[in-house]
């Protein structure tokens, strides 16, 4: 398998270089067509995002694929590739499979476990198929990479915990309320952060939005943006009890919501739980509110701490994901090798079988009339010899799969047994 990959990523290159090497989505089909038209290149896949460009190519056995790819890059970007040599990584054979699996699993992402990469990979795969650049082993590898990405997502916690403050708030809300359907969010004090958190909550299903702000006009404006209702600041405590989730970010110098307030709010809503996300500094919600049963208060430091914990958690899960990738690489390599070897093995068997039948035919006269038993014995004897002769070369070919010199070994066996073309 003559497989090669060249890439540049956030690990190896600064953004200016990545920009320079980026291949825009709209130009991908043309680029793929150009690449597969190069000498010996049979299949190609290009993944180009803001954090990475990976280019995989599969070529005919013995073709000088690296030169072809180099020329393609130089032509495409109109540059001397030597200037960028230090930023590029090159991989071959098994390493390519491993790299693609890791990328699709988001193990090589800037933010470990971020979910977008799998979609981007799928897009790259579809584009390559539409451009007619995937039709054999590389197609199978790419498809498998997507499957591995999904498996890692399903079986590990790599992507499950939030690594930004606003997502952490959503995640905590889900731990309290389960589904956010039919939940009411109260935005107390307009601000960038609270807007962002509210947006995430709404996209997770929160249905009704209430907004209060010192300046009423701003509240009306924000309420309109979220299709919610503006509440006059004076009527705050009359309406606050309706909210399941309160995102607070006012400029108030003192606690706006005290323990007494919270107790009254809870009594008014039959002790149904309330979640206060206090992102104001100085804080709006008295931390003593958290001591109340059914009240949960997270301030900005708490949220940051959750995020830090989640990052560590992701790193632990990554180790498990790496194991899955390793397993899948082994499996894929074995399958590819068997597929690749199949024609050779069939050809070998056919060739020897032809010799065997021809020889039996030649000696038929000399053997004379044989009984059924005797004929069966001759068949068994000759077949047995063939199988024993073939056993070792086939085992050798199967065991060496994935090695760089494997192709040469297969060619050699073919030549020795005279099955070349």
């Amino acid at each position: 398998m003559n497989l090669i990959l060249v890439g540049i990523s956030h690990r190896t290159a600064p953004v200016e270089v990545r920009e320079r090497m980026n291949i825009h989505e709209s130009r991908l089909p043309a680029a793929l067509a150009d690449l597969v038209a190069r000498d010996g290149v049979r299949e190609a896949l290009i993944l180009s995002t803001c954090n990475r460009v990976d280019l995989a190519a599969l070529a005919d056995e013995g073709a000088e694929v690296e030169t072809g790819v180099r020329r393609f890059l130089a032509d495409y970007h109109h540059c001397d590739l030597r200037a960028y040599e230090q930023y590029l990584y090159w991989q071959r054979g098994r390493e390519v499979v491993r790299h693609l699996f890791r990328v699709a699993s988001s193990l090589d992402s800037m933010i470990l476990g971020e979910p977008q990469i799998l979609g981007q990979f799928k897009q790259a795969y579809q584009t390559a198929i539409e451009a007619g650049a995937l039709n054999g082993a590389l197609h199978e590898i790419s498809e498998q990479a997507l499957a591995v990405g999904r498996r890692v997502r399903r079986e590990t916690g790599l992507g499950t915990s939030a690594v930004s403050v606003s997502y952490a708030a959503v995640e905590l809300a889900k731990k309290i309320f389960g589904s956010l359907q039919d939940k009411t969010v109260f935005i107390l004090g307009a601000g960038k952060m609270s807007e962002l958190a509210a947006r995430h909550l709404i996209s997770s299903g929160a249905s009704s939005i209430l907004v209060a702000n010192r300046t009423y006009d701003r509240a009306v404006e924000l309420a309109a943006a979220f299709e919610g209702t503006a509440v006059p600041f004076e009527a705050l405590f009359d309406r606050l009890g309706r909210a399941d989730i309160v995102i607070s970010s006012t400029g108030s110098p003192d606690f706006l919501i005290t323990r007494d307030h919270a107790e009254r709010l809870l009594a008014g809503r039959k002790q149904r739980p309330m979640f206060f996300v206090d992102i104001a500094v100085p804080r709006d919600v008295d931390p003593a509110v958290n001591k109340l049963d059914n009240c949960f208060v997270y301030d900005i430091d708490d949220l940051e701490q959750v995020v830090a914990g989640n990052r560590k958690q992701r790193e632990r899960e990554a180790a498990w994901a790496e194991q899955i990738v390793e397993q899948e690489v082994d499996r894929t390599m074995r399958r590819l090798a068997h597929k690749e070897l199949a024609p050779t093995i069939v050809a070998l068997e056919q060739r020897l079988e032809r010799i065997r039948t021809a020889e039996i035919e030649r000696f038929r006269g000399r053997l004379g009339d044989l009984s059924d038993d005797q004929r069966a014995a001759v068949e068994a004897l000759t077949r047995g010899m063939l199988n024993k002769i073939l056993h070792e070369p086939i085992t050798q070919m199967k065991s060496g799969t994935g090695n760089p010199e494997h192709g040469a070994l297969v060619q050699l066996v073919r030549r020795i047994f005279g099955v070349n073309e």
Partner: protein, 269 residues
Amino acid sequence: MLLWAALGLYGLGVILTFPSVVRRRPALPRSALVALACGLALHGVSLVLAAVRLHHLPVTDVRAAVSFFAFNLTLAFFLVYLRYRITSLGLFMPPFVFLLALIAALHPGSSFHSAGFRGGWLGVHIASMILGYTGFFLTFVAAVMYLIQESALKSKHPDSPRYWLPSLEECDRLYYRSLLFGNLFLAIGLLTGFVWASRTWQGPWEFDPKILATLVTWLIYLTLFSTRVSGSWRGRRSAYGAIFGFAAVMVTFLGMTFLSEQHGFLPKP
């Protein structure tokens, strides 16, 4: 023999569930569910065979009652798991079922029979009681899960995000529904028990320790139910109540058997 086979399968189920709960996978492994389901099936067959042999529901001695309880719990586990997909149930329910089945399998079979024990009222009485206890065990599990999740949220150190535990609201829903179920069947059980006792037993039976303990248990659960409905108790306090209540159930169900004259289902010397 069937019970021992069921016990083995339950044990296998427990062992197979464990790694996925510890690793916090989002679903229980199919192998564990299959093992538990096969255990449940064998257990069911053993109950049916016993019922055919005795001509009534096999609940009239301690061994049989415990076995029936274990069977109900496994059934409840499947119903709740399929309905709510709560993985962490796997941590609580199969081990308890295994323990009960083990008690049932080890306990010497009782030869205790009285004419009265054939009565239909008695079968309904015991079966409803056990269904009620099954509900209360679910309430207990919901309460424990609630408390763990709640303390993780309150501590603000969710270093290990406990996504294997259901959300507080899901715990609360399971809590409320199982509480309702338990109370309903306990009421039926008590009622049928009174009817049967007044017909069969002579002399003052109202002060039988097991009856008194059951009444106390019922009072606890009635309190939990009414405070939950009125909205005056919710969350942590209710959860502690449910744990206390289940301790009372265990005392009533197992402990009182040894103290009570009338409910002493042990072979008499």
